[in-house]
């Protein structure tokens, strides 16, 4: 069992509790207004992320942001954007339940992800996020640190992704 204990030092896979998760779409010209409503300057470069006071925004596309906040703030955020709707056309869709978040943390986290993630993770900066594939599932991959990642995956694909992470974790632990 020694290998197993050592393994958990190397990488740990955990399911994170739910967050308020929103998909924000708007024209780049309206970024400033939206930033104000969300209380955080929305990043403008694709993959860039920004975090402040427990809120986070990741730019996933030219007009698309993934917003995170504490669950308790979801209603407040929705209301704030609702105020904007008249003057600043946008789409804010609650997707808190659409995805489940998995944290992959440890010195071998990137190696574990490389079983099914085709990205060159050495080039993925801390604090960035990308929509990509993990095995055959669409995911958003977030890098929180050199050794810390999150995967957000649609609920029905979660068991498949989780199972593969478990298989691959055992594979890493085997030492081969």
């Amino acid at each position: 069992m020694n290998a197993r204990v050592k393994l958990f030092d190397a990488v740990a896979v955990t399911v994170l509790p739910p967050v308020a998760r929103l998909n924000l779409r708007l024209r780049p010209a309206d970024i400033a207004t939206a930033s104000k409503a969300f209380g955080l300057r929305l990043p403008i470069k694709i993959a860039q992320g920004a975090t402040i006071n427990g809120r986070a925004a990741y730019c996933l596309g030219p007009d698309e942001w993934l917003l995170h906040a504490n669950e308790s703030e979801q209603a407040v955020i929705v209301a704030a954007f609702n105020e904007l709707r008249e003057k600043t056309p946008h789409s804010l869709t609650v997707i808190s339940d659409r995805e489940i978040t998995i944290a992959i943390i440890g010195p071998r986290a990137a190696e574990l992800l490389s079983v099914a993630c085709s990205l060159d993770l050495s080039r993925m900066a801390v604090g960035t996020a990308k929509r990509t594939l993990f095995d055959t599932a669409q995911v958003v991959l977030i890098r929180d640190g050199a050794d810390a990642f999150r995967i957000e995956v649609w609920r029905s694909f979660f068991p498949q992704v989780r199972e593969l992470l478990d298989i691959a974790t055992r594979e890493l632990a085997s030492g081969f």
């Binding site: 779409r25 007009d63 869709t93 808190s96 339940d97 029905s156 593969l164 298989i167 691959a168």
Partner: protein, 1000 residues
């Protein structure tokens, strides 16, 4: 110590004997041996039988190009692998191996009768023999061909092994760890690039393992090798991968690697994968794959003991094994002379060196003379003898093109070298051009399509010094292309064994070439005669010759045979080689297990099965499931003793009489949001949306540009600028993609955005006369009365305390609601509804009941009642088209002549004459069942069910001119040869007035 093992030689571990079996007999080898080297050390050359003629065959090479020594290996239950190359399989304690294609035994094989009948098995014999009589095909020919097609037994048990996959990114990927590969790696790694070096063998070093006498920079080859490998292994930017084959070279420098992890280990720990497939994306690729030695083509060149000279050299130096006591050399290249010298120096008696060339470097002649080895230059070989092992070779002088008198030379092995072919398989995968080099008589790399460099013998260079220099240069070129600086290393090599040689067609003979068994392709048993016959029979292109003779079509992809076959074909055609062409190499470079390609996708992880939040409840209730797109859905909920028919009938009755509950979570959902949402909806869907008030919903129909139905679903308007669109289960991703496509390419000006919310919501459908009675007490924030919340309404409210989007809609014809709650609450809501529903005998129903109930109402299922050629009018839902709208996707196509023509297939109802007869879905429909065959078919049954509500069967069908045939009787031929008469009706079978929707 085994008889043919030379003490103190090789990289094998003399202190570690390893026992294994071959055809049931126990053999001992040493740690580091392959099956081939271990058997050779025991004096065993006979390792298999030929594919077609069942001739005895021995090992020919020492590498992955081996065509003969293909064995079955068993590592444990379910772990049998056929066609393993004995030259690549390492031995380990407990390994069990067997020869193939023999019965009853390898030494006595009845199939060898084919060797006597060889005249029957000439080129194209499949095409000629199996043509006639036609009736023989099913019973005789096909079974025969299937049995004969392919060597080895397929495994029959489930493979219990694990297989793994990885992605890898690097600056420089180097394929091959011989001198050129290593020099490239050293340069690239010292320049700071991230470097991956792969080699298919267990030991890194390539040619250096077989050339220990060379001196590099004052070190013996092996000392130099181990110090350089240590240097590379110590660098953090270098990954060295042994037992790893680059199997394919794909676009944009994606190279597939197959790494063997455990096939050399006795006791494999749990969770360890057997093989790992690497998908490498490399900035630069350096191919340093060396060259493959070409056999000589002459009568009897396939007898056990006849093998490549280079292989003998490898067995000697890498494994410390002499392939015989009395070898003779048959060559047209200097390299084999050195093999002779090395074998002599190791204690063998060399029978002779026979060279087809007349001019030999004096230095070589001198070396031979010094060792008192007889040399015969300007000679040909015309036959061999020996049943299971070569015992002699017949050689003749060739003077001015004529073959002189024969002489027999006794020997126990014939070591041949017909020149060297640059190994450019991977380069060929990239579709880089191969240019014919007339001087080298070889195809060499030409125009490149990828960021690739070829180094060493792979581009026709010869000798360790040249390979090192070229490798270092390739490494420097790669660094330059990466924008990095480099320091070009130089290597001083002494005792290098440079040389030259020639290549040739089949060797001249004084006997009838027509009866010579001069093999070109050992694995597919193709002879020189077969290739000449193919040309005589009209094959002109090498691609045709290849397919007619099967030359190069075995699993070795002609690594040994292609160039010899091409040379012979070009001679027969009287054309230059480049005019005859070159066959294309395709991935994988060497045979690769299905397991490696499948990776993790096996067992429970084979394919994703999407499950709804309520799926677990259905499992607990013993539901039977069916796959729908990637989802699995509860099909029906049998109670004890019920079959499907009984369960579905009960579910239908319960829903029509009182209350049914259904998990509709898999329906696709798309949030269409923004000030231009209504304009977008008007353009996408056929229906008009402008006048649909918030709080109302409507059936939406989506066409393709061709006017054919693509998808449908109920769409609710939540706000002026927000629509909740539902799609079919299977159409969810497709519809979103189609919408995004139009939005981004056709209408980027529209201020509207799309977000998939399929999995945000869990959706529960409640249907039946008691649906409102169940729901109303649980709903807060919405008046549920029919007046305030009529059919086709939608509201945001809470249901059982959960935030909800509540639709009043029906896909059953009964009073119906669909409750959407955030997915995490799906099961909790379901359970609360089940408890509250007990008062009304609530009945969970599955997709089958859903299908029956909707068919009773004539509601269509996209993809079942439509097939991509059905318009709204064809389906009888022309009412869903907003006639006043200026445009929508597909509108123009609906006016095309063939779309408005009469006689199109239209969706109608069918009622069988026998009300108990349920038609088969997909059954064809005819006007007159007595007409002669083939009958004219005028349509087919799309949906067919037992209707519990009507007490009879119902069906829907697409029938030519169907609307005009209403009232007619058509016929549906049945599988038993009879036919069923059915009356054409409208497609609404139940409650045509729709009264049941309007429960107060």
């Amino acid at each position: 110590m085994s008889a043919f093992r030379i003490k103190g030689r090789g990289l094998v571990n003399a202190a570690r004997p390893v026992n294994f079996t071959f055809d049931g007999a126990r053999y001992q080898g040493l740690e580091g041996d392959t099956v081939a080297s271990a058997l050779l050390a025991n004096g065993v050359h006979l390792m298999g039988r030929g594919f077609k003629y069942h001739r005895p065959r021995g090992v020919v090479t020492a590498g992955s190009e081996e065509p003969n020594a293909l064995i079955g290996t068993s590592r444990g239950p379910g772990q049998f692998e056929p066609n393993t190359r004995a030259t690549m399989q390492e031995i380990y304690s407990g390994l069990s191996t067997e020869s193939q294609n023999k019965w009853p035994s390898l030494k006595f094989d009845l199939g060898a009768i084919n060797d006597r009948l060889y005249m029957l098995f000439s080129a194209g014999f499949y095409y000629k023999t199996f043509m006639w009589p036609k009736s023989f095909w099913d019973k005789v020919y096909e079974p025969f061909i299937r049995r004969a097609a392919g060597l080895g037994k397929s495994p029959t048990e489930v493979d219990p092994d694990h297989y793994a996959s990885r992605y890898l990114h690097c600056d420089v990927l180097i394929v091959g760890s011989g001198p050129s590969g290593l020099a490239a790696a050293l340069t690239a790694a010292r320049g700071g690039a991230s470097v991956v070096v792969v080699d298919e063998h267990a030991e890194l070093g390539g040619t250096l393992l077989s050339e220990p006498s060379v001196n590099i920079g004052g070190h013996t080859a092996w000392n130099w090798l181990s110090s350089k490998l240590a240097e590379l292994a110590g660098l953090p930017n270098v990954r060295l991968m042994a037992r790893t084959t680059a199997i394919g070279y794909y676009h944009q420098n994606m190279v597939g690697l197959c790494q063997k992890l455990t096939d050399h280990i006795s006791n494999v720990p749990a969770d360890v994968p057997r093989e790992r497939l690497w998908r490498v994306r490399a900035g630069q690729v350096i191919l340093a794959q060396g060259a493959i030695e070409r056999p000589m083509v002459f009568d009897g060149n396939d007898r056990p003991g006849v093998m490549m000279a280079g292989a003998a050299q490898t067995f000697l130096h890498r494994f410390g094994v002499k392939v015989g006591d009395l070898p003779m050399i048959l060559t047209s290249h200097d390299s084999a002379w050195h093999t002779a010298f090395d074998l002599f120096d190791a204690g063998c008696k060399v029978a002779a060196i026979v060279d087809t060339r007349s001019d030999i470097a004096p230095e070589l002649m001198q070396q031979a003379k010094k060792r008192k080895i007889e040399t015969l230059t300007g000679h040909t070989a015309t036959a061999t003898t020996g049943r299971l092992r070569v015992t002699s070779i017949r050689v003749n002088p060739v003077r001015n093109g004529s073959v002189g008198p024969a002489r027999k030379i006794s020997c126990d092995s014939v070591l041949m070298c017909g020149g060297w072919t640059p190994s450019l398989h991977l380069f060929s995968h990239t579709k880089g051009s191969l240019d014919w080099d007339a001087k080298a008589k070889a195809y060499l790399p030409g125009h490149k399509t990828e960021a690739v460099h070829i180094a060493g013998a792979g581009r026709g260079l010869w000798g360790i010094a040249a390979a090192l220099k070229d490798g270092a240069q390739a490494g420097a070129d790669a660094l330059r292309d990466l924008g990095r600086k480099n320091v070009l290393a130089s290597y001083v090599v002494t005792d290098d064994r440079t040389g030259t040689g020639i290549t040739q067609k089949e060797l001249p003979t004084d006997r009838s070439p027509g009866s010579a068994k001069a093999f070109v392709d050992f694995q597919n048993d193709v002879t020189a005669k077969d290739i000449r016959l193919a040309v005589r029979e009209g094959m002109r292109s090498i691609e045709h010759v290849k397919r007619y003779t099967t030359n190069g079509m075995a699993t070795d992809q002609g690594k040994l045979s292609n160039m010899n076959g091409l040379t012979i074909a070009s001679d027969a055609l009287g054309k230059e080689i480049p005019q005859v062409g070159l066959t294309t190499f395709r991935p994988p470079y060497t045979p690769t297990s299905f397991g490696a390609l499948a990776g993790y996708h096996k067992g429970s992880h084979f394919e994703v099965t999407r499950k709804t939040p309520i799926d677990s409840w259905a499992v607990e209730q013993g539901a039977v499931f069916e796959p729908v797109a990637l989802w699995r859905r509860a099909w029906y909920f049998p109670k004890s003793g019920e079959d499907m028919h009984a369960a579905v009938a009960r579910e239908c009755r319960a829903t029509r009489h009182s209350l049914g509950i259904f998990d509709a979570s898999t329906l696709g959902k798309i949030e269409v949001s923004g000030p231009d949402a209504v304009e977008f909806m008007n353009r996408m869907y056929t229906n008009p949306w402008a006048k649909l008030a918030p709080g109302k919903c409507r059936y939406g129909l989506l066409l393709g540009e061709d006017g054919f139905i693509r998808d449908d679903g109920v769409i609710g308007r939540m706000r002026d600028d927000l629509f909740h669109v539902t799609t079919t289960t299977g159409g969810a991703a497709r519809v979103l993609n189609m919408m995004e496509d139009y939005l981004q390419t056709e209408w980027p000006d529209l201020k509207v955005w799309l977000t998939s919310t399929t999995e945000e919501w869990s959706t529960i459908a409640i249907n039946g006369p008691n649906a409102r009675k169940l729901l109303a007490p649980l709903v807060e924030g919405q008046d549920m009365s029919d007046a305030v919340f009529p059919h086709m309404s939608v509201a945001e409210c809470t249901v059982a305390g959960f935030p909800s989007r509540l639709f009043r809609i029906s896909f059953t014809g009964e009073l119906g609601f669909e409750v959407n709650v955030p997915a995490r609450y799906g099961r909790a809501l379901w359970e609360k509804l089940m408890v509250a529903g007990q008062a009304y005998g609530v009945c969970p129903y599955g997709t089958e009941t859903m299908h029956v109930l909707r068919a009773e109402k004539g509601y269509i299922i996209i993809g079942q009642d439509t097939d991509g050629t059905v318009t709204p009018e064809d389906a009888g839902i022309g009412w869903a088209i907003g006639k006043a709208k200026p445009d929508f996707v597909g509108k123009r196509s609906l006016a095309r002549p063939d779309i408005i023509a009469k006689g199109r297939k239209q969706l109608v109802g069918l009622l069988t004459e026998d009300p108990k007869h349920v038609l088969v879905e997909g059954a064809q429909i005819v006007l007159d069942p007595k007409q002669p065959k083939p009958m004219k078919m005028i349509g087919h049954v799309t949906s067919s069910y037992w209707s519990e509500a009507l007490g009879r069967s119902i069906a829907m069908a697409l029938v030519e001119g169907g609307f005009e045939r209403i009232g007619d009787t058509l016929h549906v031929p049945t599988a038993d040869g009879g036919s069923q008469a059915a009356k054409v009706t409208g497609s609404v079978f139940y409650d045509p007035a729709g009264d049941r929707l309007k429960v107060e």
